[in-house]
């Protein structure tokens, strides 16, 4: 006990505790004080009487010395006595806790291997789960940073003519206007359209990501500008729209966080535009196709202008370009809103003619934004939960083996009078200590992990900018730590509580064969760890196979020798297509003079970067007939495009300048096969959109958006017909394309016109790499977890077998003394260890077959039941299991026989 108690001795603490328990009650404390005071008064009376006082007077004097009122003094002393008791009780509890902690730390220090294994396993498990939980929490679980986000929906159209390629498309402007008037279940609808924005002024012109939005968009979302104000309704009209809102990021990046920018004019697309406000952080619209396919917003929207639909835009019947958001009236259902919008759609369908239908699809904004990302993230969550389970099994086993090894120590303690509760508390304290240390290291790992993850995350992962380790996640992690700690501590604690000293002292040190229950427990632990590792490894194997197969897909273009640079032509200096084409001719000839450039061309869209313009196509002779038309993705390219990107011509020829003035078209191989399955497409006439043109060539197929999807049919039109304001200059290099080539091409473009912005440049290899970024991200994390699981499980199996052998050294000794060969012992141990490994493998394979459906949609060109993957996992785990069992077996039989027999 604590040294500062009187009468040192083992029994004193117990006596004192028993005593304290009694006096802690109020009346006992009072009685004790009364007795002490009675004694004091008696002593004083005695003293005074010897000095000649009469006993009565002495009694009065003795009490008087306690102050004017005896009763008041006694009352005050009672109060002080209670305060003292409370303090003492608290001190005692703290002493016990401190003692337990010190004891726990000492015990852990004495078992460094056990401590290190447990702490590291726990830290890895908790670190990994905290990281993944952070990710899932911020991206999937947290509501969007808008007011009552569950009432926000994305409105998409289901357009009969495009339905085969695009199940849903963005909205048409006239439909949107009609919905705005006719949807009573909606509090409001707002439209968003992408916009290119070139910011000019000092220095080089800069291209910003932009969007045109309805004036009511931000009020609808519930986003209040951090500075300035929203758009006004009268600004949402052609002519009134010379105003702009900046995103928080753009404000920081381009305007140095200067609040006085609000009210100032900036040059945007060569027009003077007044900045009226700055949005708060994280309020930006999600970029790219996060609001649905074909929306094609910039990756990051930095500047907003009013939608201000022109007369022409609001009457265009064939274009579906607008992302539409609606806020449902409180109480209204998605279904009600959809029914109302569909009724309006029918009126349009009636006008459009027979066979055409317009329906709407409403998706809650949250699921639209995180929808495609949530499945892989939830899969990662499942993976990390599996890892944590393996960690827990391992920890429980570690802890149990430890308590087995310490059974004797505990037995001695019980014999010396330690209560069951006390021993249980020691065991729990030790586990909690482990959990706290492991948890702290785990949190540190998580802190680094989250940062690494954000750096690693593909830019298509929504809301990744919002991700940070925060208090909520910390709390969940702490809870996990506590649960793991207690779970792990509980079993040995219960066991310690029921330790029977006599039995444990007799058998504790020298169990001959280990108990049957312990053997069962070991087998179970091995089987469980192997089963969960199997699940993780199979998942990783399937993802790895998918990844490799995706990378093997031929994109239809050359990847190593192509650079691509975006150019943005200002509309004021290049208002017409002819003027733009003149620039491209100048620019292409400049680039062609760069040494090392083999071919150069301009295009409106790069392979693997998405489709923007999709329209119906037909054979010219069928153009008049109604009915379903195949739809194709249209791209404008200049003469040397196919040479420049390395797409082969299968028949016919590429565009030539001599074709100017004659309507010509080049189609992809699949387009040719679709329209003219029975003859050569070259020389045929084709109706493409509103024009009819002669097919002069058939080009190889390319992947338009991703490596995984075949994509739309592709139709190429000559760039001089409608030279794009946002073009992409592609150049083929003689040696492998790199940054130096990009710099030279950029310089050549500047020579053509220094006022033209070149916002983005990349090699084709980067484009390919970007399309598989999400897949690579998932695979990396999954592989990391699987590796951690494999390490944890193999360390666990090794530990279990080694622990089992340690308690059975005598048995092995006796067997060997009786003539058993080493090989025989090895086989015995291997059989004992590998049987549960095999059972775990079988269970794991069974579980992964059952879980296959869940991951099937995330795989590419590989079935969840892929026998090669399953076989590899079985072999890998079998080998790891055999090694983990074999090493301790081998070591056990190397020990000298006498040592084995004597060992305690």
């Amino acid at each position: 006990m604590t040294p500062d108690r009187p009468h040192v001795g083992p029994w004193a603490a117990g006596v004192r505790r028993a005593f304290r328990l009694a006096v802690r009650r109020a009346d006992w404390t009072n009685a004790e004080i009364d007795e002490e005071l009675r004694f004091h008064v008696a002593m004083r009376v005695e003293e005074l009487v010897t000095k000649g006082w009469t006993p009565d007077m002495a009694e009065i004097e003795a009490r008087r010395r306690f102050g004017p009122s005896w009763d008041t003094a006694v009352r005050h002393l009672h109060q002080s006595g209670h305060a003292r008791e409370e303090q003492l009780a608290m001190r005692e509890r703290m002493d016990d806790l401190w003692h337990d902690l010190r004891y726990g730390l000492r015990a852990l220090r004495r078992a460094p291997r056990y401590t290190a294994t447990a702490v590291l396993t726990l830290a890895l498990g908790l670190g990994a789960s905290t990281v993944v939980f952070t990710l899932v929490d911020h991206i999937v679980l947290r509501p969007l940073p808008y007011a009552t986000p569950r009432d926000l929906v994305v409105v998409r159209e289901v357009f009969s003519e495009l339905q085969q390629v695009y199940p849903t498309v963005p909205a048409n402007a006239s439909h949107f206007l009609a919905w705005q008037r006719g949807c009573s279940a909606c509090l409001g609808l707002a439209a968003i359209k992408r916009m290119t924005a070139t910011l000019s002024g000092d220095g080089d012109p800069q291209r910003l990501g932009g969007a045109r939005v309805s004036a009511n968009l931000f009020p609808l979302l519930g986003v209040r500008p951090a500075l300035g104000r929203h758009f006004l309704a009268e600004e949402d009209r052609p002519g009134g729209d010379q105003v702009a809102l900046l995103s928080d990021a753009a404000w920081r990046r381009h305007f140095g966080e200067d609040p006085s920018v609000v009210g100032r004019s900036i040059m945007l697309n060569d027009r003077s535009v007044r900045v009226i406000g700055v949005l708060p952080p994280f309020a930006d619209l999600p970029g790219r196709d996060a609001l649905g396919a074909l929306v094609a917003l910039p990756a990051e929207v930095e500047v907003y202008q009013p939608l201000a639909l022109t007369e022409q835009e609001s009457r265009a019947t064939g274009s579906f370009d607008y992302a539409v958001l609606a806020r449902l009236r409180p109480g209204a259902t998605l279904q009600q809103a959809r029914t109302q919008l569909d009724v309006i759609g029918q009126q349009f369908a009636a006008r459009a003619g027979a066979g055409t239908t317009f329906r709407t699809a409403l998706v809650p904004l949250q699921s639209q934004i995180v929808g495609s990302a949530s499945r892989p993230l939830l899969l990662l969550l499942a993976a990390v939960a599996t890892l944590l389970l393996i960690v827990c099994v391992n920890l429980v086993n570690l802890s149990l083996s430890r308590s087995t090894a310490r059974a004797r120590e505990f037995a001695v303690r019980v014999a010396l009078g330690a209560s069951a509760g006390r021993l249980a508390r020691l065991a729990i304290t030790e586990s909690v200590l482990l959990a706290v240390i492991g948890g702290a290291i785990g949190l540190l790992l998580a802190h680094w992990g989250v940062r690494a993850l954000i750096a690693l995350a593909p830019s298509t992962l929504p809301r990744v900018a919002e991700v940070q380790l925060d208090a909520r996640v910390f709390a969940v992690s702490a809870l996990l730590t506590a649960v793991v700690g207690l779970l792990v501590g509980l079993l040995p604690a219960l066991r310690a509580g029921t330790t029977h000293p006599a039995g444990a002292l007799k058998a504790g040190g020298r169990t001959m064969t280990g108990t049957r229950a312990a053997g069962g427990r070991r087998s179970l632990f091995i089987a469980v760890q192997v089963a969960f590792s199997t699940l993780l490894l199979v998942g990783t194997g399937l993802f790895l196979t998918s990844f490799v197969r995706v990378l093997r897909v031929d994109p239809g273009v050359e990847t190593d020798h192509v650079v691509a640079l975006d150019v943005a032509l200002p509309r004021t200096t290049y208002p017409t297509g002819d003027e733009r084409w003149a620039f491209y001719e100048r620019a292409l000839s400049e680039v062609a003079t760069v040494p090392g450039i083999v071919a150069v061309a301009v295009t409106s869209a790069l392979p693997l970067e998405g489709e923007t313009w999709v329209d119906g196509i037909a054979r010219a002779e069928d153009a008049a007939a109604s009915g379903e038309r195949p739809s194709a993705n249209f791209r404008f390219v200049s003469a040397d495009y196919f040479d420049a990107v390395g797409t082969p011509m299968q028949s016919g020829r590429a565009f030539a300048l001599a074709d100017r003035g004659r309507p010509t078209v080049i189609v992809s191989a699949r387009t040719a096969a679709t329209l003219w399955p029975d003859r050569n497409a070259v020389g045929q006439l084709m109706a493409a959109g509103s024009r009819t043109a002669e097919v002069i060539g058939v080009a190889g197929d390319v992947r338009t958006s991703t490596l995984e999807e075949t994509g739309s049919l592709v139709v190429y039109l000559p760039a001089w017909e409608a030279a794009p304001a946002q073009g992409i200059v592609v150049a083929r290099t003689a040696s492998v394309a790199n940054g130096a080539a990009i710099t030279e091409v950029r310089a050549a473009l500047r020579r053509a016109d220094p006022t033209v912005a070149v916002p983005k440049a990349r090699t084709m290899a980067h484009v390919v790499s970007a399309t598989v970024a999400a897949r690579r991200f998932q695979l990396t994390l999954l592989a990391l977890f699987a590796m951690l699981a494999l390490i944890t499980a193999s360390v666990g199996i090794y530990g279990i077998i080694a622990g089992s052998l340690a308690t059975r050294r005598n048995e092995i000794g006796v067997r060997m003394a009786l003539g058993a060969q080493r090989g025989h012992i090895h086989r015995l141990v291997l059989r004992e260890g590998l049987t549960p490994v095999a059972i775990g493998l079988a269970a794991g394979i069974g579980a992964s077959l059952a879980a296959g459906r869940v991951v099937a949609s995330l795989l590419y060109a590989v079935a969840p039941t892929d026998p090669r993957t399953l076989a590899s996992v079985v072999i890998l785990l079998g080998v790891v299991g055999a090694v983990a069992c074999g090493i301790p077996a081998w070591r056990a039989t190397r020990t000298e026989l006498p040592l084995l027999l004597r060992a305690d």
Binding site: P6, E36, F39, H76, A83, R84, L88, R91
Partner: protein, 113 residues
């Protein structure tokens, strides 16, 4: 005869610790010890004495145990703990510095009126 000085607030605790540094005593003995050492110059209120003992016990500077006196009476004996001993040394040093400082200031001669 000079009337006894009232004990300055806060100094009683350190005096009690000092008394107990001589060995375990019950409350009455502590009071007697202080009276004897001060030769009656300090007026220790018995109520204050016990308040001080309980306070010190609560802080863990002294510990109490029931024992038996030479005359076979049950009495509550107080004993200095390790922490109490350390506290006494520290408080003594502080007090000495404090007293020396105050004394030095008070010893400065008065300016001529």
């Amino acid at each position: 005869m000079v009337s006894p000085l009232p004990v300055m607030k806060g100094t009683l605790d350190v005096l009690v610790l000092k008394a107990l540094a001589w060995g375990p005593m019950h409350g009455f003995e502590v009071g007697g010890w202080l009276e004897a050492r001060s030769q009656g110059a300090l007026a220790v209120d018995d109520s204050g004495l016990y308040q001080s003992l309980y306070r010190l016990e609560g802080r863990g500077l002294i510990a109490a145990e029931w024992g038996v006196t030479a005359n076979n009476r049950r009495a509550r004996y107080y004993r200095l703990t390790e922490r109490g001993r350390a506290d006494l040394a520290q408080e003594t040093a502080v007090w000495a510095r404090y007293a020396a400082t105050v004394t030095a200031i008070l010893a400065v001669p008065q300016p001529a009126p």
